[in-house]
Subunit: 142 residues, 4 copies
């Protein structure tokens, strides 16, 4: 089961004057969630960079379903939904502690080398990602 549940709390500085978490923060949280997902899978991101590979985001999207506010605890289900050449897609679904759906999102990344040029996946990285792809997983209904 290659889905990771990242648990975190929302702090004061992440809220805005509407008293809810500011929309750009979800992308910050997605980064934390995918970092911990990769670590959990045994392939921490810093090791990918040590190999001379980088994973910049080429596309990111977030759907805001309900809001979260100060001191809320949220869980971010994270998985890899697709490997396509040297591009990999992460999906996220954010829930409150009561299980209600807060947000869904995705980030699409392309492997590049130190010079920022797109590059082929090293074999071990490819095998690792193929072993964790959850291509059939749907975001469960609210």
């Amino acid at each position: 089961m290659s889905v990771f549940n990242y648990k975190m709390r929302v702090y004061y500085g992440e809220t805005d004057k509407m008293s809810v978490a500011y929309y750009a923060n979800y992308f910050v949280w997605y980064e934390r969630a995918r970092t911990e997902f990769l670590r959990k899978c045994g392939f921490p991101y810093f090791e990918i960079e040590e190999k001379g590979l980088f994973l910049p985001v080429v596309h990111a999207a977030c759907k805001y379903i309900s809001s979260v506010t100060y001191d809320d605890v949220i869980c971010i289900e994270t998985w890899i939904s697709r490997l396509e050449g040297a591009r990999v897609k992460f999906k996220y679904s954010v829930r409150k502690e009561d299980g209600s759906l807060v947000s869904t999102g995705e980030t699409f990344h392309g492997f590049v080398d130190r010079q920022g040029k797109p590059c082929r996946l090293q074999k071990d990285v490819k095998i690792f990602i193929e072993s964790v792809v959850e291509s059939d997983r749907e975001i469960p209904a609210k």
Copy 2:
């Protein structure tokens, strides 16, 4: 011509260890751009809130085409591409000073009242938005 060109500079804290602007910041910049777009159109956002209307984001997306780094000056073309009931879509296209395309994005917003409930547009807000919608505008090629 209801397109606004928001010009800004990228600062140190907006970069990350890949030496380029961190991906979540684009959504922060989009907010600044649409705020200045609305002001330029004569309908500043704080006046919308004074009427008891709020415009939370319900969907946001960004495509990263090239990167920007510390001290770069960028221009964010901003316009409203759609009004659909009580929902309004903003589009953005980010360029460097040499005109090269850095990013395109969109944010979709729903009008809500003070309690966060979706609500109908007040007549003057509706007339204003209809007067600035640029439904046919395409993002010009690079």
Copy 3:
């Protein structure tokens, strides 16, 4: 022992192009640490706000001794060093996992009411804070 050790990890978006955590983030981390300190003491900050009291920062300072970077785990020792009328001072000392000192800091807060006016402490809040003040605690040398 009214000292709390808040443990956290540094993520990509918190670094800058110098490859270390950007200096303003330390104040964000201090907020997280004092929030968890108050919760641990049995007096979560949201309960203070529910009483109609707020704790804006009136002064903040941070000394940067060494740097942290992506994926580092840090511990933030947090305690209250002073209660002075309706003002309370928090102190922080940040360490890496090997115990080396990264940063020390402090934030000074004034109790205000909903209108932002300075106000007297409610008795139970005063008693609580007096019970946890660690006025003699020094930041241990590395």
Copy 4:
């Protein structure tokens, strides 16, 4: 007169649920102000980095006098108050458009080389800084 007045606007994402700008953001604004100060003086920071010199913050402090909120325009007076060996101190005073004082602050920086080691100032950098130091300047009263 080596004092620079950096003018900027406060945006939504910079506020928190107390409806005012979050305290850590002042340090982000100080960075923008000192960047523009250096550029105005004819010695942009990116040129300092091109020489292999970096200016990490070794100490930062901010006093919060009044608050600012969404859409406020603020001016940040910025100057260098001291050069001490290879360390340089910037001071900041933030005002609203009506001239009222919002905040004062300072950041103390040490010159380091690419390896992060403290280093001596190159002669032209030293001469430049000595020419702009405003050691006698006091923050004008409110």
